[in-house]
């Protein structure tokens, strides 16, 4: 019994951050303003957050432990969190944000929820979310918790009391070793997230999703530092020039025009 107790002490406490996003592939644009129409667009968990969970599951399979998903999002994100529980997370915490929330507020809520959970060895996030692709939430949370961060992780090798990870910086790679606790943000190349089986989907309904109010995790009202004042469309500008002279002349004019704009040299 004593030995079993000792083994349990070594179990990893893993936290995965997940964000409910609009499926950017399904966004339609308003034909006159070119603005994106977000109402009614299907929602899903951001892709790289699933890579983060997949990595967490692999670590748990090897070392044992518990995976808690933490998400700041609207109450309807519960539906998507169920998918993560089916994949292999043990429980989920959902913190609905106040009306005015920016990255500063959201990172405080995530870090606050983690402090409330109390114990964490490894925190895993996606490198960025697919909707806004800012990539600041992971480093912010690590900063607020005052723990090491390893971003753009392409490989993670977990040992008993430390991990080694390779950061993908494009033209170079940096290998970092860190003791626990540590926060990692992962790239989509790190793994292929699993699809839950029907049995797992059914079993997930009995796993808990806790809803914690924002005021309960930070203890103070948070003021955003940034306001999104507009989301503009991107006008595609076409010159609409049609050359209608005889073929040779038109070709000549087209070539001249292309040379003038720098397309041909």
């Amino acid at each position: 019994l004593r030995r079993r107790k000792k083994e349990e002490e070594h179990n990893m406490n893993i936290i995965v951050c997940a964000k409910q996003v609009v499926d950017v592939a399904e966004i339609k644009l308003d034909s006159s303003t070119k603005k994106p129409i977000l109402a009614g667009v299907p929602k899903k968990i951001s892709d790289m957050d699933k890579n983060a969970l997949e990595e967490a599951i692999k670590i748990k399979e090897k070392h044992g432990g518990k995976i808690t998903v933490v998400s700041v999002g609207a109450p309807d994100a519960k539906e998507q969190l169920k998918e993560l529980l089916a994949m292999g997370a043990d429980e989920a915490v959902l913190v609905p944000p106040p009306d005015q929330a920016d990255y500063h507020v959201i990172a405080h809520l995530l870090a606050g929820a983690m402090k409330k959970i109390g114990s964490y060895d490894i925190i895993l996030c996606g490198e960025a979310s697919i909707d806004l692709f800012s990539g600041q939430t992971g480093p912010r949370v690590a900063g607020l918790l005052g723990i090491p961060q390893i971003t753009y992780a392409r490989t993670v090798l977990v040992e008993k009391d430390k991990l080694v990870s390779e950061r993908d910086l494009g033209d170079k790679s940096v290998t970092i070793e860190s003791p626990f606790p540590v926060l990692l943000t992962v790239t989509k190349e790190i793994n292929q997230p699993r699809l839950p089986s029907l049995m797992q989907i059914l079993a997930a309904s009995s796993k808990p999703i806790h809803e914690w109010p924002a005021t309960g995790v930070t203890g103070e009202a948070l003021e955003p530092r940034i306001k999104t004042v507009d989301v503009k469309g991107i006008p595609s500008q076409r010159k609409n020039i049609i050359y209608q002279d005889d073929l040779d002349q038109s070709v000549q004019k087209l070539v001249d025009e292309l040379a003038k704009t720098g397309v041909l040299r």
Binding site: D131, P139, A142, P148, I176, V229
Partner: protein
């Protein structure tokens, strides 16, 4: 004060141009921060920095430690606006720094200006389908700026500035860098290309893509 930092020297000069303009509009001086040695400090002064802080260190980049060092400089000089070069290191540095400063942060801005005296940054969102216009409501304000958004200021040999040397504090992070490796580049660098020809799926066959490659 307006502070600029980028790992890449050329990007640093580009940021200095914008910092110089913003500094003029808001009547603030420009600080440039260099990690390593002071080899480029004089050059930065001639490209618009009023103060260059050289953080002397021989250790490679680690976000926790660089953020800690920058935080000290920002608090000492009451820096309001911070421009950081938008590469992968710059972005993880900016995120961490924003947290410890309790600051707003806009990543990869494509346009940066003052609107009704408020710093406003635009960035591309929803995988290229829209532009978000973000306005800072409180300082300090952090923005990461990608390369080639601005031209460097022409060199001004008469521009005067101070160079201050500092030593990096003790390591604040228990993590260890084991290895830094150059990765083999696959093909050409899109970032450095002057013209990019992209082809759609309509080309279908490999042969046609090769033909496009040859032009």
């Amino acid at each position: 004060m307006v502070l600029v930092y980028a790992d890449d020297k050329k990007l640093m000069l580009e940021l200095l141009h914008k910092a110089h303009d913003l500094g003029k509009e808001t009547q603030q001086k420009v600080i440039a921060v260099v990690f390593g040695n002071d080899a480029s400090a004089h050059d930065l002064v001639q490209h618009g920095a009023d103060l260059v802080v050289v953080m002397e260190t021989s250790s490679p980049f680690k976000a926790e430690e660089y953020a800690h060092a920058l935080e000290g400089i920002i608090k000492e000089h009451h820096v309001e606006i911070i421009l950081i070069g938008s590469d992968k290191n710059g972005k993880e540095l900016a995120g961490r720094l924003a947290a410890t400063l309790h600051a707003g942060c806009v990543m990869d801005c494509t346009k940066l200006y003052l609107h009704e005296k408020k710093l406003t940054a635009e960035r591309i969102v929803y995988s290229g389908n829209a532009i978000a216009v973000e306005q800072f409501t409180a300082g300090p304000m952090l923005v990461t700026v990608p390369s080639k958004l601005y031209e460097p200021l022409p060199k001004d040999e008469h521009h005067k500035g101070e160079v201050v040397k500092k030593t990096m504090g003790q390591a604040v992070s228990p993590s260890k860098i084991l290895k830094v490796e150059k990765r083999k580049s696959e093909g050409v660098s899109v970032e450095d290309a002057e013209i990019i020809v992209s082809c759609g799926r309509g080309l279908k066959k490999d042969r046609r893509v090769l033909a496009a490659d040859r032009c």
